[in-house]
Symmetry: C2
Subunit: 162 residues, 2 copies
DNA sequence: GTAATCAAGGATAATCTATATCCTTAAAAA
DNA sequence: TTTTTAAGGATATAGATTATCCTTGATTAC
């Protein structure tokens, strides 16, 4: 049970977009090159962000993506769900209904006890991601990443941002 | 990102095994029939429980599975991990290392900030499952499932338990 | 106005995982 | 001695993931 790698890509791309100056855009090409990712496929992940209205886009040269909201208004959960979907990890197939001892046509009034627990775990997972803001990530990077690499990356991005 | 359906099957089977009288065993065949599942494939899930030492087995007629420990000592996490594996949902491919602005051979001392958050969410998920005991599930079933179905199921199982 | 660049998204293919079935082996019970 | 069982290997099918390529229409640069 793995998240798709596009989730990782989208999170990294969102972090880069969060560092863009107001009003500038960064293209799929630049984001793919910066992260060493296949451009065409990364594009699908970015389309997911766009459909979820987490990013704005423009076309043409100097076009690309920028965040649609402040990084403090975007959570990890927003990004993960935009790419991975909103489905739960546990799918209940209600196999208790196959119990041969059941009267035919018996109908359950509550979800299965197993599903309830599994969905609680899913909720705990989502809550953690909903509590993690993109702005927190960016602040953390500023501490973790050496200043020279940080500065060089900023320059690299600004050279390519439309 | 879905758990395999075998996780659901294993949880339901564990709940049934928890209802077995001391020392009795229940076969794959009976468990498959009770839940309306393909016997051969369910067998793989039960083998997972066996490898994780959550259940004991015996061979021959009247053989099958029983819990290796009291249901109060078995958690949802034990069962989920036995079938699904212990891997995390988020796999970090460390794509920050592809940053063209990095000095060659630069080595990260900390895991990526993105991975840290994603792994926190995984931990919250696991913690929830670790807090859910199989005995709690069984107690819940006794409340949710109508008494007549409960009794008929017990009889059905006892007829087949070796 | 023209050419280049871009996001969006459709079509297709390759690879991996989940799902499932079948068969053999060795152990235990009837 | 025969039947039943778990374990596990081999194989097959379906579906999801991971790509790649191409077209379309919008936007910018020249």
């Amino acid at each position: 049970m793995n998240l798709k790698s596009q989730v990782e890509w989208a999170l990294h791309c969102a972090a880069v977009l969060a560092g863009l100056p107001e009003g500038r855009y960064l293209s799929t090409k630049a984001l793919a090159e910066f992260h060493g990712l296949p451009k065409e496929y990364l594009s699908k992940a970015l389309q997911g962000l766009s459909q979820a209205k987490l990013v704005d886009t423009t076309l043409g040269p100097s076009g690309g993506y920028r965040l649609a909201r402040p990084a403090s208004d975007i959570t990890f959960l927003d990004i993960v769900e935009a790419v991975e979907g909103k489905g739960r990890t546990f799918v209940c197939n209600n196999i208790r209904a196959n119990n041969p001892c059941r009267p035919a046509g018996f109908c359950d009034d509550k979800p299965c006890g197993i599903a309830r627990i599994m969905w609680q775990a899913d909720e705990a997972w989502r809550r953690t991601l909903a509590d993690a803001k993109l702005s927190d990530l960016v602040a953390g990077l500023a501490k973790d990443v050496p200043a020279d690499i940080m500065a060089a990356s900023r320059d690299w991005v600004l050279e390519r941002a439309g």
